[in-house]
């Protein structure tokens, strides 16, 4: 029974293993960037999920404001928390890559700046939450902040790197709308993206269930 419900977790373990092996052994090195480009199989999915997490957080914040149901706040804050972890991972993997290719861990490239600001926003989100005593008020005010912050994000991700020159390789979808990867790289990359997304979902569910459990112990239902 237990094994039945959790079958996908075992599949995920196998899948992630294959992705890791594929990233190092199967995919060829990229033109111009050499072996270091292999980090893209891990760096891009984490950055992608950091953004997705903040989208989820903003959507549940809107839902909270509409319904005042604390369950939505649990989803919003949990997604922000997992998103924070993934944006830290994206920052660290990016920084390691930068140290090899640009010979410096940190040099305020617009894309480094963007992800760092993202980190700041969500650190501020949790600072705000910890300063409010009443649960409903905490949920309401942090939902408003989450929505404002999310609307700020496109300004960093899209506008600022376009105004100021960046050395960062083209994002996944570049101006020409074409993917500059060969077939084997693409295969590993999209598998990695999908596997990471599933992993993210699993982490988010664990967090949400844990908070809900704490909540249901305290909550009186109407």
């Amino acid at each position: 029974m237990n094994l039945n419900r959790n079958w996908w977790k075992y599949i995920l373990g196998l899948w992630m293993t294959l992705v890791i092996v594929g990233a190092f052994l199967y995919a060829p090195p990229a033109k111009g960037l050499g072996e270091t480009a292999r980090i893209l199989f891990f760096h891009v999915p984490t950055a992608w999920l950091a953004t997705i997490a903040f989208l989820i957080s903003a959507i549940y914040s809107i839902l909270y404001l509409r319904t005042q149901d604390l369950k939505h706040d649990v989803w919003a804050s949990s997604a922000a928390q997992i998103g924070l972890i993934f944006s830290i991972l994206a920052t660290v993997t990016g920084s390691i890559w930068a140290s090899k290719i640009w010979h410096s861990f940190w040099n305020w490239d617009p894309r480094e700046t963007s992800i760092f600001i993202l980190l700041l926003i969500y650190a501020a989100y949790f600072a705000l939450r910890s300063a409010i005593e009443v649960d409903e008020q905490k949920a309401r005010l942090s939902a408003v902040y989450s929505i404002i912050a999310f609307v700020t994000v496109p300004f960093f991700i899209f506008i600022i790197p376009r105004i100021y020159d960046s050395l960062h390789p083209d994002p996944l979808i570049n101006a020409q709308g074409k993917i500059k990867m060969d077939g084997r790289m693409q295969l590993v990359f999209f598998n990695s993206l999908a596997a990471f997304t599933l992993l993210f979902y699993w982490m988010l569910r664990i967090k949400v269930d844990a908070v809900m459990l704490k909540l249901s112990g305290k909550e009186e239902t109407l």
Binding site: L70, E136, E219, E220, L222
Partner: protein, 224 residues
């Protein structure tokens, strides 16, 4: 042309005459830190009637008053206002509401007159100094119009709150602990105001004083 005129007269007659106001509270419930303060509160009240909220400390009288005045949104349920059976939109209720409560403060660094000017203007009332002086006189505060409120005693502050709540002759007057902080004379004036209000308008009082409970034709008892 002629028919139109008759219609206009009828319309204006209705507008100039007595308005019927009504409050409907439908199944309101409020949670605070996930604890239920109260639930399933429903009532209807019309102009010319009065209502009292009773209950021990911590039973949520003040919270209920604040929900009705739209200072907080209820976790569940709805409070609606009607004028002549027509629903008043949420952002148009302000000119009809008056509230006095210990948690509503006025601007302490402004004088009573300056406070009056602000509250009259924001409620779209003409600024009429004579009317204001009359109200101040009625509350026993004549001569203090030009003093900043921070020089007032707490009892006097409570009296000024009545002045500010009454400048627009509100159709709906809500009083939370109406006579706390007031001396005997002050309480008497307040009872007079309550008597007047419930005669043709709506009066809602949250209290535990036996003297004041008498003013409510109907009671809502909140359990702790």
């Amino acid at each position: 042309m002629f028919i139109l005129k008759v219609f206009n007269i009828l319309e204006s007659d209705k507008l100039n005459g007595v308005h019927m106001f009504e409050i409907h509270a439908d199944q309101i419930a409020q949670k605070f830190n996930q604890r239920i303060i109260f639930r399933d509160i429903s009532f209807k009240i019309k102009s010319g009637h009065s209502l009292v909220f009773l209950g021990p400390n911590g039973s949520g009288k003040t919270t209920l008053v604040r929900v009705i005045c739209q200072l907080i949104r209820p976790t569940k349920g709805k409070v609606r206002f009607f004028r002549n059976d027509e629903e008043i939109k949420q952002d148009q209720i302000y000119p009809f509401l008056g509230l006095v409560g210990p948690y509503l403060q006025l601007y302490n660094s402004l004088t009573a007159l300056e406070n009056y000017e602000f509250f009259a203007k924001i409620r779209r009332q003409p600024v009429d100094v004579n009317h204001f002086k009359k109200l101040m006189g009625r509350m026993g505060l004549a001569g203090r119009e030009m003093d900043e409120l921070r020089t007032y005693s707490s009892g006097m502050l409570h009296r000024v709150k009545y002045v500010m709540a009454l400048i627009h002759q509100p159709e709906i007057l809500i009083l939370d602990e109406p006579t706390s902080n007031l001396d005997e004379k002050g309480a008497e004036i307040v009872y007079e105001i309550m008597e007047e209000q419930r005669r043709s308008k709506i009066l809602i009082v949250a209290t535990n004083e036996p003297e004041e409970i008498k003013f409510g034709e109907e009671q809502i008892r909140l359990a702790s």
